[in-house]
């Protein structure tokens, strides 16, 4: 909320979008127009900082998996597991099989839930209802109204069963508590496994159903395909994601792989090597840092091979991988690349920002299949190997998982008692901070020109640029229907409002 009188350079106009919503912690967009009415510059600002990296210092490392989920109440599992993995690394532990299985199972189920929420509640409205449709109906309620109540029911069921699964693992539905250095706080018994099996089977069906819905609603509509392929949302950047030893997509474990805009492997590193590959830039006008590839360097908010800017999104993960580790997801993967690059092998990366939604659905399918595979593993209910006791001397460790919104890195240094001395966190969405700024700017430049009337529809098209990233600035609340409270003020030179457009 603008508190002070901010100056605008003589001869220029400012469009302030404040606050944008459907992301936690307010985002803010300032667009500067030259005297012609063309976009001179555009800033996307994140006004949120809570300082976790500092106040984690002095805490015992085993408490981190219980503290860091409060970084994000929407994807707490991501922080919970990244943190637990970092803590394991601090103690140099190799977890017993059952512990690994349980953790990956919990993680994949969470993935299904999280992607579902985003795709239906946030992504779908723009396509199902249309980018320029009546904002009053452009939300999950509208979607349900259009595609039918039973679908809405399925979506809610998927969320609820997801949280039920969470409480089966560790009691608490929203912020998980069950990961502990060395494994899980408790095993699961036969009955609990039965129930989880039921949930996973449902999720696989739900995945198939979602892919079908995507075909019917989006891909069957040439306008949308055109929007995706030719819209103002195209960025050729590096892609980052976690892959297993066959270079297949893996959300929970593996190495970080980065491919260049042409799809050639740029680097592939172990989690604890991240510092040699990632650097973070600080700008005065945002509380959020801007990570980039250290070995390419920061060239500003530009794309292309010479710019260190990279993306870590569902699409990036498909770009860096050579396929999926489950059949149905593999099918979806091939179709995805065939449609967008003409090469079903996936060697050529996709750079259409809006297609991230599609990639998300592919991942949803994969997470569901993977969950079912894991829940049926014979060792999943082992009553002893669900955890090991730490007796080693703690030192330093890095834990990485693929959060739904990008590669998530937790790095802890402890003293010999396991007290955190230093903590470094590179949060999923942070990876995409620079690309989001670029996408918004690009969208603005393409959508607002001399003489353009700044309509609500235009503004929504601008937002669609960042919504595709499913951003989570200081932790987004993505789960509610609705639309952007958005006010656009056009100010004159000394900042007084000339006109105000907003959507009602």
């Amino acid at each position: 909320m603008t508190t002070k009188h901010v100056k605008t350079k003589e001869g220029y106009k400012r469009i302030s979008i404040d606050p944008i919503t459907r992301l936690e912690g307010h985002g803010k967009i300032d667009i500067f127009l030259d005297s012609e009415g063309n976009v001179a510059d555009c800033y996307f600002q994140v006004p949120e900082l809570r300082g976790f990296e500092k106040f984690c210092e002095g805490r015992p490392v085993e408490e981190m998996p219980r503290i860091t989920p409060r970084i994000c109440g929407v994807c707490p599992e991501a922080h919970h597991h990244a943190s637990a993995k970092a803590a394991d690394a601090v103690y140099g532990l190799d977890l017993p099989l059952t512990a690994k299985l349980l953790r990956e199972l919990q993680y994949n189920i969470f993935y299904v839930t999280d992607h579902t929420t985003h795709f239906y509640a946030l992504g779908a409205p723009d396509f199902v209802m249309g980018p320029q449709s009546d904002p009053a109906t452009r939300n999950i309620i509208g979607v349900i109204g259009k595609v039918g109540v039973e679908i809405g029911g399925e979506v809610i069921k998927c969320r609820q069963w997801g949280h039920e699964a969470a409480s089966i693992f560790g009691g608490k539905p929203v912020t998980p508590i069950n990961c502990i250095p060395g494994g899980m706080s408790k095993p699961i018994n036969k009955e609990e496994r039965e129930r989880l099996d039921e949930i996973c089977m449902f999720m696989v069906e739900f995945g198939k159903f979602t892919i079908k819905l995507l075909h019917d609603v989006v891909l069957a509509n040439p306008d949308y395909v055109d929007l995706i392929v030719n819209g103002p949302y195209y960025h050729e950047t590096y892609s980052m994601g976690l892959v297993d030893d066959q270079n297949k997509v893996n959300f929970y474990e593996g190495k970080v792989r980065v491919v260049d805009p042409e799809g050639n492997e740029f680097c592939k590193y172990e989690p604890n090597d991240y510092m040699n590959h990632i650097a973070e830039r600080v700008e005065e006008w945002s509380y959020l840092k801007f990570p980039y590839l250290k070995n390419v360097g920061w060239k500003g908010f530009v794309d292309g091979k010479d710019s260190g800017v990279y993306r870590a999104t569902p699409q990036s993960r498909l770009n860096v991988a050579e396929g999926m580790n489950s059949p149905l997801a593999q099918e979806a993967y091939e179709e995805y690349f065939e449609t967008l690059t003409g090469d079903r092998s996936g060697k050529k990366p996709v750079h259409h920002t809006l297609a991230i939604h599609w990639a998300r659905v592919v991942e949803l399918m994969n997470a569901a299949e993977r969950s079912l595979e894991l829940v049926r593993h014979p060792d999943i209910t082992d009553p002893v190997n669900y955890r090991m006791v730490c007796d080693t001397v703690p030192t330093e460790g890095v834990g990485i998982v693929e959060a739904p919104r990008g590669t998530l890195t937790h790095h802890y240094v402890t003293d010999e008692k396991g007290i955190i001395q230093k903590a470094n966190l590179i949060v999923g969405t942070t990876n995409n901070n620079a690309p989001i700024c670029m996408s918004i700017k690009k969208a603005a430049e393409n959508l607002i020109h001399k003489g353009t009337e700044v309509t609500e529809g235009v503004l929504n098209m601008i937002e669609m640029a960042f919504r595709a990233y499913d951003p989570c600035f200081g932790c987004a609340t993505h789960s509610l229907p609705g639309q952007m409270p958005l006010v656009v003020r056009i100010r004159d030179v000394d900042g007084t409002v000339l006109s105000e457009g907003s959507r009602d």
Partner: protein, 167 residues
């Protein structure tokens, strides 16, 4: 509000400032010990104000933090010597709680001299006098307890020095 904090932070030591120390004393030993200091006309500074409780076991750490957060520059807790408790083991609880609250105060960056617990018997007027003298002087040296200062400027707030990166 931010200004408010700022003003607090720049609190200067007021003219002819005197340390404010709250003393929680058990009735049977330490309070009576303070009495015998009086009966013997021993002299000590006027900075320690005594609050009477029946047993040092009644001294809830909450009382200590309330005092410190409301303007006390120091807190003194005194009870019977271990083994002499009028209530058998009441002071055993004091003995267990005080080191813990002390640790917490240290972690919050409070100088150790500001919190002191002692075992003072009904006969030890002299010890009481000594403790009051010592503590008053120590706290005087430290100056007023400036919370915002401690909470905000002590860098790593809990008084522990942490390793820098790369060590």
């Amino acid at each position: 509000m931010s200004e408010e904090v700022a003003t607090k932070e720049t609190e200067a030591v007021p003219e002819n400032w005197e340390p404010r120390i709250v003393g929680f004393l058990c009735y049977w030993c330490s309070y009576t010990g303070a009495d015998s200091a009086g009966t013997a006309r021993m002299k000590y500074p006027a900075n320690v104000d005594i609050i009477k409780v029946m047993c040092s076991g009644r001294i809830d750490p909450e009382l200590i933090t309330t005092a410190l957060s409301n303007g006390a520059d120091g807190v003194l807790v005194a009870g019977c010597h271990i083994g002499d408790c009028h209530y058998m083991t009441g002071n055993h609880k004091t003995m267990a709680r005080m080191p813990l609250i002390r640790q917490v105060l240290l972690d919050l960056g409070i100088e150790p001299e500001r919190f002191r617990y002692e075992w003072i018997s009904a006969a030890e007027g002299e010890k009481f006098t000594r403790v009051v003298r010592e503590m008053t002087e120590q706290v005087r040296k430290l100056g007023p307890l400036n919370w915002p200062e401690i909470l905000h400027e002590s860098g790593v707030g809990h008084g522990r020095d942490l390793k820098p990166w790369g060590e």
